[in-house]
Amino acid sequence: MWQGFPIRPEQASTIARGVDHLYYFLTAVDLFFTALIFLTIFYLAIKYRRRSAETKATQVEGNLPLEVIWTIIPLGICAVTFLWGSSLFIRNSRPPEAATEIFVVGKQWMWKLQHPEGPMEINELHVPVRRPIKLTMTSEDVIHNFYVPAFRVQKDVVPGMYTSIWFEATRTGRYHFFCNQYCGTNHAVMGGYVIVMSPDDYEQWLSGGIRGESMVSAGAKLYEQLACITCHGTGKGPPFVNLFSSQVKLTDGTTVTADEAYIRESILYPSAKIVAGYQPLMPTYKGQVTEEQILQLLAYIKSLSSGGAGQPGKPTSYPPSLEGGRQGAGNQTVGGQQSPATVPVPKGP
């Protein structure tokens, strides 16, 4: 049906069908009211046309019950649509706990996508089918937007902060992604493909691909290279173990959650928030680290915060959904058992 003349993009993610259903509902409402107005106008306009100069109108000034009815009915339809749309949106916005985190940096005019296992891709994203993927995104310059129509997801990618989307692809194939926030001259070509592969193919791609360092181990290296270790490993600075998503007390008495934004800020602008009990000794790393390196450091710090799952510098093993703790206080329960919410794990090669 509609092969040559599609009315919707492919439904290639778990949420696509739900969004489409709501869209069809709205289209039906739209068609109904358009038809209603058009047909009524045609009917009235023909029935009451001026047949001769003497045709007189019968004056009708209004009708209160009618006004109430045509206020209440649209209000009811709006209420239903709002509730449906909002609940779906909240559900669609919440990443599953087991999602694999991929870091995305947008810059004029390309996308850099970094897998936790190491490979970095430009304008292409390989993902396995049936595995939830969470994209944590930031921009080096202007606002971009990461948009995959086939997955029905998009989110602006904003400099100075992290935004995230998630998806779980349901069928293999190549799906266009676009920059959907106007970002300058070559905005129209700032896109690429999400390549959804079967788990076997994905594994093959991973092993054959440009297998760089994993995010965590790259971060661990930076931890030593940038001499973070001289303070944060010796107690002069706050330690990183179990830091991520914990509550941090500051010198001014307030408490912040150690999330991505906080850690990023602390690297670039160390004096913005001083942890209680420490001196403001740290120099700024602004200009010395790239956005990707910050993401690597972030991945490393996150790996230290999951009940001992990640040792400093320890290379990560595949598959990540078994590993736990990757995205903060993650998907692992105390005994190292897998949380019940995780998705089916693909068979190894």
């Binding site: 009618l66 100075g160 070509v189």
Partner: protein, 562 residues
Amino acid sequence: MDFGLFGARRRDEERKGHYEMGTAVVEPGIESRVHYLNASYGIKSWLLTTDHKRIAMLYLASITFFFFIGGAAAVLMRLNLISPQGALLEPATYNKLFSMHGIIMVFFFLIPSIPAVLGNFLVPLMIGARDLAFPRLNLLSWYVFMVGGLFTLYAVIAGGVDTGWTFYTPLSTTYANTQVISAALGVFIAGFSSILTGLNFVVTIHKMRAPGLTWFRLPLFLWAIYATSIIQILGTPVLAITLTLVALERVFHVGVFDPAVGGDPILFQHLFWFYSHPAVYIMILPSMGVISELVTAFSKKRIFGYSFIAFSSVAIAVISFLVWGHHMFVAGQSIYAGIVFSVLSFLVAIPSAVKVFNWTATLYKGSVSYQAPMLYALGFIGLFTMGGLTGLFLATLAVDAHVHGTYFVVGHFHYIMVGGAVMGYLGGIHYWWPKISGRMYPDGWARLSAAIIFIGFNLTFFPQYMLGYLGMPRRYAVYAPEFQVLNVMSSAGASILGVGYLIPLVYMVWSMRYGPVAGPNPWGAKGLEWQTPSPPPTENFEETPKVTEEAYAYGTEETQVA
């Protein structure tokens, strides 16, 4: 030039000037009589006029100019999009074209269109006043508008601006290498023209109504203009300060939206849309007012549900300020704010729906005739219905998360702004043209152009809804090949639409000289503006009219048909 304090002395001179000239070409009914068009002659008598009707004509000429500039940009863009690789333009040029198209159409055509042309002409006539409360301020508004226009045109000539009409930071403050400051300054200045016009209308409607003209006897066009003015007055200054901050940040390389000092680019979007969402109601509300006038006049019938239409205008003006966040559902705004803005956005749909139903019901048991203005009005109702209903898609969070920023949005706002606002504007121009010029245009041509515009419009913009749901992002100079079929359809429609807009230009200009004399009330319509000769004399009415009946009191007496 010595102005009287409120321009009073000048008016006497104009009149005197006429009697001295006295040798105009005599045509029955128009030229033998003194009216605002022939009260004095010469370029100075126009550029220094304080007569609201002449200022309306100045605006009419200016915005027609801007409309065709913005339209030319649109034609080039649609031509380019025939081919996925871009048929004739570099991406950089394309980006400048859509930015120029947006800035000029929004700030220099749509926002001043009905308020500054028809509003200026009609507000004093409809309330039985001799002029607006501040005639010289009114002239100043036009000059301010033109200065703003010149800055913008300078930006276009000096290399263009490529930020889009939205000026999002940090692209506009830091990364764009184009004429951002002069374009922003042009919009800033034009904004003041808009504020001053709105201020003038509010004071005039409050203070200068003829005896007996109570609020609930006002024509609905004035309710709409009043509601529009509220938005102009309270929204525009926020845009002004926001663009000021952008310009300052560009000059000093540091500012309050700069992420490098902890600034929040999303805050810019809040401040920008606080004005720019209500601004779409600046464009559509006056058109709604025009439609209320047209459906009554051409069905010879009182409006159905006067007070509901009147209050829905005010309700739209107020609620429009509560919904701006729906432009930012996927911008990194918090989900909680998204939910609040979503529910408020649905609310603003209700008063619009109420209006549509009431207009339709007005036809019931009427005596409906189909001159050109009525065709525009019915076209408006149809297109506005389609545009308004697709707004529901965008207010719905889960669907907006897919169609945000795509051609779906482009289709939606063109249905409202072109299908709605421009249809209403053209309908109004056709309806009041006999009053403005004293002459009739050829009705057959006018009906033909209304039909061509309706068809061309749908061909242009309906495919864009489909493109949007398929996922084609807006502001793309080149695009993926799978979108080509619909783009070609849209471009084909645009060429029809372009022809539709050129025809009225031709016959309107023609009619100014050769059109048959219209007489004071060619439509047999109600309203004070039809009780004075066409074109009206400079002082509008021989003596201040007294109002004794409701608006649209059709059926109370025999109406005169020319």
